[in-house]
Amino acid sequence: MLTVERYDTMAEAAGAIGERVHYLAGGTLLMRAVNYGYPGIDRVVRCREVPREIRTDTGGIRIGAGATMADLLASREVEFLHPVARLIGGPAIRNMATLGGNLFARSPYGDLAVTLLALDAQVIRAGGAAEPMESFLAARDRARGLVEAVIVPRVSAGEFRYAKVTRIKPKGVAMMCAAVWLRGAGRPSDPRIAWGNMGAGPLRAKAAERALNGASLDEHGIAPVLAACCDGLDPQDDELATAWYRREVAPVHLKRLLLGGRR
């Protein structure tokens, strides 16, 4: 029998999370599981006060975990995230789905988490502890507690590039998505490349990142990047595409991103 627990603060709600206890963020994933009676959900935890403010903070822009995709699209502070948020669901979903929930969304969802991984974002847990996005995502299935906010560096539109590849137009779930942070207007300096749906969760393509570091953004310069595109990734067969197909087309999409900034 499902029960719902309500808390006033995130600290209280965080303390209630545990085995078979799930936190309700925007509801776009959890309520589906509730509706279909998925096993493993005994209790749902709600919090009445979840931060959704988007503001400048030390180290970048602080985005409250309760910020919805629509909130992101309404904020000029995070204009560089608009191409990502705009491709998530329809208007109703974007009014509901939150940043915090997206961090825990399993494949084929969680496009924003891929982007935040590429941007070296910091996760702020309820209680104030900060953690790099990469280690957070690697351990999210074992995580306890709640995410209160994310701090993302301020990025100019030209140095961040994003592509979501879907089977349905104008939009559908991602067969794969790629986020690239070039860091700088000229040759990339310590760049980041992150993929969604090219493994069990969001993954950085570290071999390709090393090849991209200092490379010129032309056909010749990015050839080593494309050669290393899928090194370290682990695409799977699923209903959207085979692992083989993903490996074949990933370099094509990365090439378009690096050369043309296609979104």
Partner: protein, 164 residues
């Protein structure tokens, strides 16, 4: 099972009832409040048939935990018409044959209303984007888009409830 008291405004009517723990809003609207205008479709956020406005914001009732609407205003397609007078969106859908089987129509109308509330003179692309979360299983999208553009024009030209 524990039941939770819930009060909200449904299309101008104060509504009070008890809901089961974990109940979603579409069940509460249809079975509890007796408003059958929003449809129960996929129950997973894919089809948009259950689209309603909550405090003027487009939402999917199937993915909304019912108790979260305590004290809020919910608008469904049942409240769109004013008595015998159809809303311009409804009139345009009827005149333009924009409903085939009709299952998606209530969701389409609410998505369109949310668009026109904020964007009285939308482009065709804006209309397509506005209904991008609503599936028409008859694939009759073109007449739906045309009808929304037609309704926008009617409302700009002084149609009833243009600024509601």
């Amino acid at each position: 099972m524990a039941r939770t008291p819930l009060t909200f405004t449904l299309n101008d009517a104060e509504t009070a009832l008890f809901v089961d723990e974990g109940a979603n809003l579409i069940d509460v609207l249809r079975r509890g409040a007796g408003d059958l205008s929003p449809k129960q479709g996929c129950a997973q956020g894919n089809c948009g048939a259950c689209t309603v406005l909550i405090d003027g914001e487009l939402r999917l009732a199937c993915l909304t935990l019912a108790e979260t609407v305590e004290g809020r205003r919910i608008d469904t397609v049942a409240g769109l018409a004013g008595g015998p007078d159809l809303h311009p969106l409804q009139a345009a859908f009827m005149d333009g044959f924009a409903a085939q089987c009709g299952f998606c129509t209530s969701g389409m109308l609410m998505a369109a209303r949310a668009l026109l509330d904020r964007t009285p003179d939308p482009s065709r692309d804006e209309v397509i984007e506005a209904i991008s979360g609503n599936l028409c299983r008859c694939t009759g999208y073109e007449p739906i888009v045309d009808a929304i553009l037609d309704a926008a024009q009617r409302m700009r030209q002084g149609g009833r409830r243009a600024a509601q």
